[in-house]
Symmetry: C3
Subunit: 442 residues, 3 copies
């Protein structure tokens, strides 16, 4: 259980983890196995990068309705036996529906049984995941059941956190009211932890259609979830990416999400967990990107130069110090300055963890020397179509830039503090020296 | 009139149509014609795919201010004479403005006259369209006038539905409050039916500008309208597409809208009505798409293969079981597995109505057999640049996938139930057998 | 000071400027200069296109914390000396933070000192900029301090306007409640003027990350800011564009913003001010655009033809009156009508100020002649790949189209009325005749 905490400021995060990278669901009872809890048991024993930040024994969609009673018993048994050693947090998902009181009552009964101290599992349970919530009044019903369970079983108030799956228009709207509602004496919504998008059911609820049956991208939903989390001090998590074989697509989705402030994502397999645990961490080495035909192409580092090998971009140096640049079927003649201008638009650098720590330390030194803002310069030799070009960018850093650049480091430090089982992986990835500087900076 | 209905759950749809594909406006009185009601009369006699789901005799923008008194008389005459035979619903648009009490009063008077039983039109009138609404308090004023009209004329309470044109920032915000407001005893907003975007006036109200004077795409407005409809049990309709000759652009806009959950769209001509009545229905035959340079190209079916004829994508098989793939000026060498990976990203299948019914039936059988989830596999031979590649995708279907995939079928069934005048067109399109299976599945 | 004004309708703008193109911040005190107010002094003396619509002596982020006391004195001195001659409005930014009462108290003290009549600056101060606001209750705290300052110093009620920097999720949500809150007797939020996005701190608050450290585009934030401004009668301004050398990127950002209804943008240098003052004004001459590979290419006007010189699009006329069009690696054979269709999608015209005035006058004449709608036709000879094609578009104009098309002219008229120091630049740009017609139309 997370230590109980109440606070005046609803936007102050008051739970252990500041970031959640991975939300991994496991069926609680599978029919036809000699041990119906087999998948729960193996999930509970994951360690390192294959172990999620939040593990969700899923007694709802992942488990057949006929197996859910047995699923509750399996959750209790497996969590009692393995819970203490699980590296992440444990948040079972129970059944719930905004339109069905019977389902809500069954969810309440599941909560009561799982949290019964006599079953010996509750001390390892961090909270519950409530699916299919509607407007904020529906959220309060689930909150009330958790409050009753805590009192009934003599647990600390708000020691059970509550996470919701946002899979209806009503729930999306509710995220705009949380700050107002969380303060009120008649509820304990301060227990809220994760806002998790559920795009499949959301698509159904919105009655959306695509020609191929693929899910729509729902950028506004993800923005509103991320904003709701930010405004109420919660953590935003994206829904399942169900094309399990498409690893690059999964990574691309997470890149998009992070640009929206949504760091976490659902994982359906230990492999997806590993990918999603790694993706938000800064890369071990920096690299240059070049925009070609609207796509960002990674350049090959080679003897201090960064080389573009494709033929989507052509560059030629004429005798007269002029350059001819071919791009997307068009051709323009540029002088050295115009070419520099053009490359400022096209070239970008992806800093490594090491680079980020360097920049932060540089700014901290400047601040100690009484400077409010400094220019961070980065230089490189880019080679395009055999022509080498000296490239240089600089960006003004002030306190705000520093704070914004700090986020990946804060994430790293949060991971390092709460996931000792991943220390080896991290040191292997970055080297002990970088890890140490990254844990101390800021 | 729609049968009166009140419900505890505001998100439950309580009107006849679940979906509205087409919202077709007609001027109510045109100057200089010997019969000023000519356009009304011809619109009232449209049948089949050229007849809209919702017909809107438009006594606002489409009709000159000087002709609107005559327009009201024309609405009454034409609806009395032809209303019984009109296949869709009839929702006249009256004048209204959030900032002008006089205009609102004129709108009230138009409502009173059109709904006067002595005029013999009201029994065919399903509701009214209110343009230029502001915040939700302004919506309540229109609702109140409809309530008074019902009482004054002895009509059933809430028998007149109310649809609004969202063409201001205030109205966009109001859509977030509907669920809260609809329950309240002091209004009858349960009568709400359509939320219709009006992008031209919205653009003016937002003071937006584009270099060419084209309307901005307003994706967030359309999302918020669709979400508002979903959260309050209403139907979302997009605004007019005024480049009447650009049929492909109109279709593309509807594709975008459906991915947002917005199934309906405004139509300005019977031709647009026909296109928009057809667009949301599943295709009669399936087809494969291939992503090339960020565009989706349709493949030609040919003796069991699906052939890409363009040269935006190049593929070559080297002796050693390796493949060379050219795309967007770049070239990569792939083994068979990597090529499969690549095609998983690029190729997609657009299922026919027949395919969707098959998948639904397959899942229903699996469910009866006690399975919670099954993999749906689809295989095909793709031919790129003369090289044939075996392609296979599979997707996990669970209850949620099934429910989401069902939407186009639910739409079809809604159309089939309420538009007998379109049965011939539908059977011509799909064949009697597919139509019958589609009406019975789910 | 803006003349005091209260109004029943919160969406009615009740301050001098209808539009604000430029929001230019200057450090209030720079260490190590013999005159720490040097930058303030030079900014105060900018005139013409290099002078901003709103000038912001910035006593927050742009000024080192240790210099802010001196900064307040500098504001008072420079505004007293130069304020009367500053062509735009003057809105100092003071310190503030939603999470820190001490910072808010310091901001209150800065306001009190700057507005003290004995300092002789207040008569030139139009209002204050409050950064880092939270929910609407936090906005009310700043509003209350301004109310107290006005009473304390015997100023007219609401004579000091208030602008906020939106740089948190809470503040983004607050913009949805302004209309409701502004009416209430316990506050004077009617004094609100600008809603300014602050994407750097917003990115930090949302904990967003991008691989290169660039700011995310935040389209939803900008939409919500523009909508909030529209719904509450305020003016929306985008945040700083910190890559100062990338002028084209700055222009592109403003183009995007205007399509969202956000006309104003932050400027960091007099050069950015000049670019941003000019960008929203209609061009002096019209031009044709052609969409090639998803990019809009400007055509070269040449002896009455508009020529595409790139090779991204190929066109060939076959003997049989057929055309072969090559685009993005694909080739299609079209007859004359299909080619026209295709060009309707690809070609677009950017009207000059002159063109816009012509169209408005044409519609006004039609209206006087009793017509509700007319078709505006535009014809041109386009030359693609050496092949000349006659092109013609027409668009229906009704009252709503007219009103929407009017926005750039309204902007021009607003500029012309409030910025006499820019009259010479405007006449040089457009010629005296066009300027005169543009100031009289509508």
């Amino acid at each position: 259980m997370t230590e109980s905490a109440t606070t005046a400021d609803p936007t102050a995060r008051h739970y252990d983890r500041e970031f959640v990278r991975t939300f991994f669901t496991s069926p609680t009872a599978v029919e036809g196995e000699d041990d119906s809890a087999k998948m729960l048991r193996s999930a509970a024993q994951l360690r390192g990068m294959r172990a999620p930040d939040v593990w969700v024994p899923d007694n709802e969609d992942a488990t057949a309705p006929s197996m859910r009673a047995e699923g509750v018993r399996n959750i209790v048994d497996v969590v009692r036996e393995h819970g203490a050693a699980v590296p992440g947090e444990i948040h079972p998902r129970v059944v719930w529906h905004r339109d069905d009181p019977q389902t809500r009552y069954r969810g309440f009964q599941q909560i009561l049984e799982i949290t019964d101290p006599e079953n010996g599992a509750v001390e390892h349970i961090d909270g519950f995941v409530i699916p299919e919530v509607g407007g904020v009044d529906d959220w309060k019903k689930a909150d009330e059941f958790l409050t009753i369970a805590e009192r009934e079983h003599g647990l600390d108030p708000e020691s059970l956190s509550m996470s919701v799956i946002v899979e209806s228009g009503e729930a999306e709207l509710a995220m705009g009211d949380l700050r107002e509602e969380m303060g009120k004496p008649a509820n304990n919504l301060q227990r809220l932890f994760l806002l998790v998008d559920g795009e499949v059911d959301y698509t159904k609820d919105m009655r959306a259609m695509t020609p191929t049956g693929e899910l729509p991208p729902w950028p506004e939903l993800r923005h509103n979830t991320s904003r709701g989390a930010s405004a109420a001090g919660l953590v935003a998590v994206d829904g399942p990416y169900d094309d399990i074989r498409d690893v690059e697509g999964y990574r691309e989705r997470m890149r998009e999400n992070r640009a929206k402030g949504m760091t976490g994502i659902w994982s359906l397999t230990p492999t997806q967990v590993e990918v999603a645990n790694t993706a938000p961490l800064p890369p071990e080495s920096g690299r240059w990107l070049l925009e070609v035909d609207g796509r960002e192409i990674e350049l090959d580092a080679e003897e201090g130069r960064h080389v573009y090998r494709g033929d989507g971009l052509g560059l030629e140096e004429t005798g007269t110090g002029q350059y001819v640049l071919r791009a997307g079927g068009d051709e323009q003649t540029l002088d050295a300055d115009e070419l520099r201008e053009e490359l400022l638009d096209r070239a970008a650098y992806v800093p490594s963890m090491d680079d980020i720590v360097d920049s932060m330390e540089a700014f901290e030194d400047a601040k100690d020397a009484g400077k409010g803002a400094i220019a961070m310069t980065r230089e490189a030799t880019l080679e395009i179509d055999g022509v080498a070009v000296e490239h240089s960018t600089d960006r003004m850093w002030d306190e705000a830039t520093y704070q914004a650049a700090k986020t990946p480091i804060t994430l790293f430090q949060d991971v390092y503090e709460h996931r000792p089982d991943q220390h080896d992986d991290l040191e292997q990835r970055y080297g002990a020296d970088v890890v140490e500087r990254a844990t101390n900076v800021g």
